[in-house]
Amino acid sequence: MNQIPEIFRVIPVNNFVILAVVLFSIGILGVLTRRNAIIIFMSVELMLNAVNLLFVTFSSYKSDPTGQVFVFFIMAIAAAEVAVGLAIIVMIYRRIRSTDVSLLNNLKG
Amino acid sequence: MQALTNRSKRVSNKKLSLGERLYLPAVVGGLGITLKHFFKKKVTIQYPEEQRPMSEVYRGLHVLKRDEQGRERCTACGLCAVACPAEAISMTAAERQPGEENLYREEKYAAVYEINMLRCIFCGLCEEACPKSAIYLQSDKLAPSFYSRADVIYGKDRLVQSMETIKTAKSLKSGLTTSDRYVDKVWKNGKY
Amino acid sequence: MNPLYLFVSPLVAAVLSWLAGKNGNLQKALTVLVFVGSLAVLYTWKQAAFVDASISLPWIHSFGIYLALAANPINFWFLVLTAIVVFAAQMYHSSKEEGAVRGDVMAMIFLLQVFLFGVFMAQDLMLFYFCYEATILPIYYISSRYGSPAAERATIKFFLYTLFGSLFMLLGILYMYNSTGAENFLISSFNPYYFSGSVQGWLFLAFFIAFAIKMPLFPFHSWQADVYAESPVESTMLMSGILLKMGVFGMLTIVIPLFPQGLKDYGYIFIGLSAFGVLYGALVAMVQYDIRKVLAYSSLSHVGLIGAGLLAYSDVALEGVVLQMFAHGVNIAGLFFVSEIIAKQTGTRDLDLMGGFTRASFGLTVLFFVFLLGSIAVPLTNGFPGEFKLLMGIFEYNIYLGILCGSTVILSSVYMLRLFQKTMLGKESGDYILSFQGVGAFRTVGLSLLVALVLLFGLFPGIISGVADTAVRTLLTAY
């Protein structure tokens, strides 16, 4: 019963971590380079998913359910965040007819 | 306001009760009704195979009648065209030449007789107007559908009764349609 | 008598004068009352050889700060000077023409007096710092609110300068507290043996920068002239007369006894700069046309001398410091007082537009002249003994520095007499002089008092030195 499945033996945990890091960096890049608020927000979701992957990976490899529970929390909270976020984006869109963050220049020092 | 009859239903805007607002009883009732219809006798007539019985006074496609000898009855008097509310009928009169007596009953005849079937409303006034009992609307023939505008104008080639029906006809009336018979029966009798 | 008296009475007076508002007579009465009261208290202390003149109450447990106040021979003359200069300033203000007297200014000056007493009597470093910082606020208020339109900028500069310096002092205090493992900030719980040489050096620099900016000594003086020129004269009098003495006091009671090694290591740099400041101040004062700026630079020059004396680290010099600081306080307050009267009357502060004031009021000319003489340090005025001792001390320290500082004797007479000549003598440049109504009785009495002090301490410097000298010497020999 408690035999370690094949995948845990043939694929080192590092591979998953690397994949997560790559996805995370892509997310960061998206946040940094894109101007469309929605796409920035999507990049954030991508980053969250990279984190989720990390948690699941560690959780599975370490055989500890906490990580997966955490992922559950992250997912739930991400959903709430998206709801609020999209409401805000829609609000902005009503105001400036765009979601381009570089058009947001009311506030400058 | 006093209702004149007791047939009209008074509309009330009272709030629906909880049971009514659930809609479920109403929905179930509706389902019952539809289910009842599910098992009802079907009213479909499978047309080419089965045909609906036509009314005796059905006004179908026009026909220009011939008399017992096969002569065209129409004298191109134009009363039908005058009577036509849709102005669907047009004609050109011509004089009968010697030797054509077997073709036309009177000295004058319609060289061209056209009915625009798009205009025609199949009201039957032409039939009523005709003093020579030349035009009738058949009760067993429907005006077919058209595929081109040229088909719409019915000339004499398609309106005039074919000779075969004359031969088989036993009498003036027997060669005619149900409509003919009906008209004769009802009020054309007195005219002769 | 409880030292808290000196705290409480001006505080009460501050509230009262705020309430009194524009009522000049009430303000005058308060001024005199507090002045006399303070002097009386101080006198009783001195008579009792400062036996009961101390108090130590726990104030802030969590930081180990005590409300420790004490009057002693060293701070005695500072306290007296505070009373006098505050009196002078308030006398000026409360005797202004009808409607120009402000309750808030009076209240702020009284508040300033509270903090000044706090600074001079504080036996706890944090309390010292606290009051030291707090003194800025009233001055800032008066200068910014009632100064010329340019005063706002000048005072904020002053404020930031002093804040900058005093924060270093704060660091120093905190360092002392931490490094010695002391449970409190009482000055008595520190001594120089706690600090190694290099640490003393750093601490010296931290404290010195605070005090030097306050005084101000030569490289840190750039705020001074503007503020003096743009502020209302009350605050100029206070700043020049007493606020800068806080720096002197700090040097005397904190830097010299606690960081002798630091003073020795770094003092020579600053003594040179101070001595240069003496010359620089004097030279600049000579070419100024704004009457306030002349006095401001003269003050810089004098304070440079005091600073050099402090850094010279000898008993003679320190005795001179005490004498000179008292003299300077009285003289400069008087000078500003009189010059403001003149400037008000002529409607300008430009020396070129003044002149011939003698014809308007001979009495005022005399008063002015006496203050001038005191400032030049002519013998028999109060400036002389202090300057003499200071120069002696500096000569002992380094002869070239002595010569540099000695130039003040000549140069101060040059610019001061130029001042006198331009204002009092010569041809009057308008008929304003004829309309001069006189100084007024209250001011006359007050000014006479100041003049009397100039002469009194010129003739009998021993009144001061008798109290202070032994105490000052112990500062050098205690450790």
Partner: protein, 170 residues
């Protein structure tokens, strides 16, 4: 077999993630992001976390991304193109991020990471029963508190998204 699957999914994940941020059309980005989520769900299944994999689909692909798609369609966004003036910024940030990521990856690639051994391994941890037990016993309090978050988010989304009287635009 498993390895190939892993590499295939990873390749697809990275590719679609890249396309998310490179696509000009926001709709395409959303779709690529959904694809990424699918690949990640695949990874979760590989990792024996069935429950999360399906929850990932339901929550992310089924709810969150629908919301995104919905909003984008709602707003009828046009293509968003990279402009020249920001090109250097793009290049720069790309370079920085990739350098940093590269460094991290180099470090991580060889890092020893402790994993469970045979004796401690439990293949059931990713199953819903197990997760449910942990969630509802150990983490009950935070779980309940998440409801506060949802309530707050709900109120906020309604408050912000609601059209005010007199507002003309949709």
């Amino acid at each position: 077999m498993v390895q190939n699957l892993f590499y295939f999914l990873s390749f697809l994940a990275v590719l679609s993630a890249l396309m998310v941020i490179l696509s000009k059309n926001p709709i395409h980005s959303v779709l690529y992001l959904i694809l990424t989520f699918f690949t990640l769900s695949g990874h979760y299944i590989l990792l024996n976390a069935q429950f999360l994999s399906i929850v990932n689909l339901i929550v992310y692909a089924g709810a969150i991304m629908v919301l995104f798609l919905f909003t984008i369609m709602f707003l009828n966004l046009k293509d968003d193109s990279f402009t020249g003036s920001r090109l250097f910024f793009h290049l720069g940030s790309g370079l920085v991020v990739f350098t940093l990521a590269g460094l991290i990856i180099l470090k991580v690639a060889t890092a020893p990471i402790a994993v469970a051994d045979d004796a401690h391994f439990d293949s059931q941890i990713g199953m819903v029963e197990n997760l449910g037990k942990v969630l509802y016993s150990k983490f009950l309090v935070p779980f309940e508190l998440v409801s506060v978050l949802f309530l707050s988010a709900m109120v906020g989304a309604v408050m912000l998204g609601r059209r005010e009287k007199g507002e003309k635009n949709f």
